[in-house]
């Protein structure tokens, strides 16, 4: 049996009187690259925030590396946080720090390495994320959207986590940068042996780099499998979702 990294069991969430998740369960095995999809407002981002411990579900159990997120003491949670990295939707870079210091921050805070070493390791992560040398001295506000995402990825990778969460990694990027970013994520996942859990709207991401797709609908998991497997599921939202892709391809051929 493969090692389970993320295990969500019977989670129910209510936010502001709205039921978001009803008895939702899913799990992700080590080394998998898994995407979570679902319509707007289906609770994808809420689920992500629950898994990384920023929100607490009303009922159910969420385990990371076999440890419950809900019942962890702050110390245990901090130990857990060192084992996963998060890439937030807009990068969430610290605007008052240079790019290099942004990436070095987790190393400053969670290791006892001298600061010069932290900065050199930060530059290694920036290079791994495909950024040219010399970016390190810049401020986040001087970078383009695609570069900011790469810096955020480098920061998420700073402590060499085993698990990486990505919230809409390609949103706001042009298709070329988006595909390049996808390729980078897959490359890093394979070469570093990462487990990747990402929330996305981007169909091209699903087709190009994902091992398995989990579909969220009406607060539950509607289905899980490869894109081909999902196409066989009879659900109006899912049909429309893939239909959007087909019409996009038709327009492409038409041109």
């Amino acid at each position: 049996m493969r090692d389970t990294v993320i295990d969500v069991r019977n989670v129910s969430t209510t936010l502001g009187g709205h039921g978001i998740h009803r008895d939702l369960s899913l799990s992700v095995a080590r080394g998998e690259v898994v995407a979570l999809i679902g319509g707007s407002g289906s609770g994808k981002s809420v689920l992500l925030r629950e898994i990384i411990g920023l929100l607490k579900p009303q009922a159910g159990r969420i385990e990371l590396f076999g440890q419950s997120v809900r019942d962890s003491t702050p110390e245990q949670m901090n130990m857990l946080r060192k084992r996963f990295g998060v890439l937030f939707q807009d990068g969430a870079l610290f605007s008052s720090l240079t790019v290099e210091d942004n990436v070095a921050t987790p190393l400053f805070e969670h290791t006892r390495l001298p600061s010069a070493t932290c900065r050199r390791l930060a530059r290694l992560k920036l290079a791994l994320a495909g950024l040219p040398p010399g970016v390190g001295r810049k401020r986040p506000s001087e970078l383009s959207g695609g570069m900011r995402k790469r810096v955020a990825l480098a920061r998420a990778l700073a402590l060499d986590p085993e698990l990486l969460f990505l919230d809409e990694p390609t949103s706001g990027l042009d298709p070329i940068s988006a595909r390049a970013f996808d390729t980078l994520i897959r490359l890093l996942a394979d070469s570093l042996g990462l487990t990747v859990f990402l929330v996305t709207h981007d169909l091209d991401t699903l087709v190009s780099i994902i091992d398995r797709v989990i579909v969220l609908s009406n607060g539950r998991v509607l289905g899980s499998g490869t894109v081909a497997e999902l196409k066989t599921i009879d659900d109006p939202w899912l049909r429309d979702y893939f239909a959007a892709r087909v019409s996009k391809e038709e327009t492409k051929h038409g041109n």
Binding site: L107, T111, L121, R123, P140, S141, D160
Partner: protein, 364 residues
């Protein structure tokens, strides 16, 4: 999990590593000063990530130009990790610290900043004036709603604190004046002194300082945050002028609110003084008011109230300009807000001094 260990074998020139190599393993590295590592031996390494691989590699290659050590007995996935790190090793070379600027350069930079600031202010006032001229003929296009919201925030919200502060200052001032006047039996003159001080100086200056700290800072923070979230750009793109939509209503609101607040401060200050003179100097409320009617000249009141709009315009101009010159990061909002308060306070003190000299020269 086994702890990371590393041992240097002098004979082979080999660094023998074992255990789990993460970022924390740095402490396990032996002192390699003056020694050359030709071989990295990973026979005992159970786990390795990029941080660990880099630490081992950096120990063997202190300079980026040093030859790559021979990798011996590593597991295949660890070798792949080394390959990845070695590819990007050049990027991690020790960089010279950025050169610090000398006192002269800093002074020059500071002077340029002040100059740019002055030019910017003139430019801002000019654009504002053009905008105002364009708006004057059509009162329908004024942002009355925004103006109303601002008056509420700046004026109504500040009434309790302005009244409270001036009341206490009136108490303190009357008490100090009274304790001196009592020695000469000049009790009733306390009223004269109190009126002059509160109406002419204390109330306008203190209320202006209060509004600068309270509303000036709020205006800068709000406009600055709108700048960060690109709301200002959105306003411009919709064909509206940020000056007309944001700046002018705020200037007008402060222009109206500050004299009103000063007047409320006047009343509160006199009330505070009245309370103390009755308690300490046995001047009844009736006597106090009688004396006020005798000695209070309209010009004393008007001098104080007349200074308020000038303070208001300066506070609003500084606050709005600082807000609009925020750059797109969080620290900038804080720095500009601080700058607004400091600039406003300096402006208030300087303006007040100019007024004092001016009034003396004019014989008011």
């Amino acid at each position: 999990m086994t702890e990371a260990r590393a041992h240097f074998d002098e004979e082979q020139g080999a660094l023998l590593a074992s255990g789990v190599w993460h970022a924390e393993a740095a402490a396990a590295l032996p002192d390699l000063a003056g020694k050359t590592v030709r071989i990295l031996d990973g026979a005992g390494v159970t786990q390795l990530d990029t941080n660990g691989a880099w630490l081992l590699l950096a120990a063997a290659r202190p300079q980026a130009g040093d030859p790559m050590p021979e990798l011996r007995a590593f597991q295949p996935q660890h070798l792949a990790m080394f390959k990845l790190v070695a590819q990007h090793f050049a990027a991690t070379a020790v960089q010279p610290a950025p050169q610090r600027e000398g006192v002269l350069a800093l002074t020059g930079r500071g002077a340029l900043a002040v100059w740019g600031h002055a030019i910017g202010l003139v430019d801002f006032v000019g654009r504002l004036f053009i905008e105002l001229m364009a708006l004057l003929p059509s009162p329908g296009s004024w942002r009355w709603r925004e103006f109303g919201v601002q008056v509420r925030d700046v004026f109504v919200g500040a009434i309790p604190i302005a009244a409270g502060m001036l009341f206490l200052l009136g108490v303190v001032f009357a008490y100090l004046l009274g304790s001196q006047a009592q020695q000469y039996g000049a009790n009733i003159f306390v009223v004269d002194g109190l009126l002059l001080a509160i109406l002419r100086e204390i109330s306008p200056v203190i209320v202006a300082v209060l509004v600068a700290g309270r509303s000036g800072a709020a205006i800068t923070a709000q406009i600055g945050t709108m700048k960060v979230t690109e709301e200002i750009d959105a306003i411009t793109t919709l064909g509206l002028s940020p000056l007309a939509v944001l700046v002018i209503p705020r200037i007008l609101a402060l222009l109206i609110a500050l004299p009103l607040l000063v007047f409320i401060g006047d009343i509160a200050g006199i009330a505070g003084g009245m309370l103390v003179t009755q308690q300490q100097l046995d001047i009844s409320y009736y006597m106090f008011m009688d004396r006020v009617a005798d000695v209070l000249q309209l010009k004393t009141l008007l001098v104080g109230l007349g200074k308020a709009p000038v303070f208001a315009v300066f506070i609003a101009l500084i606050a709005c300009r600082m807000g609009l010159s925020v750059t797109r990061d969080a620290r900038s909002v804080g720095a500009h807000t601080t700058s607004t308060v400091v600039q406003s306070l300096v402006a208030i003190i300087i303006l007040n001094a100019i007024f004092a000299v001016m009034f003396v020269e004019l014989g008011i």
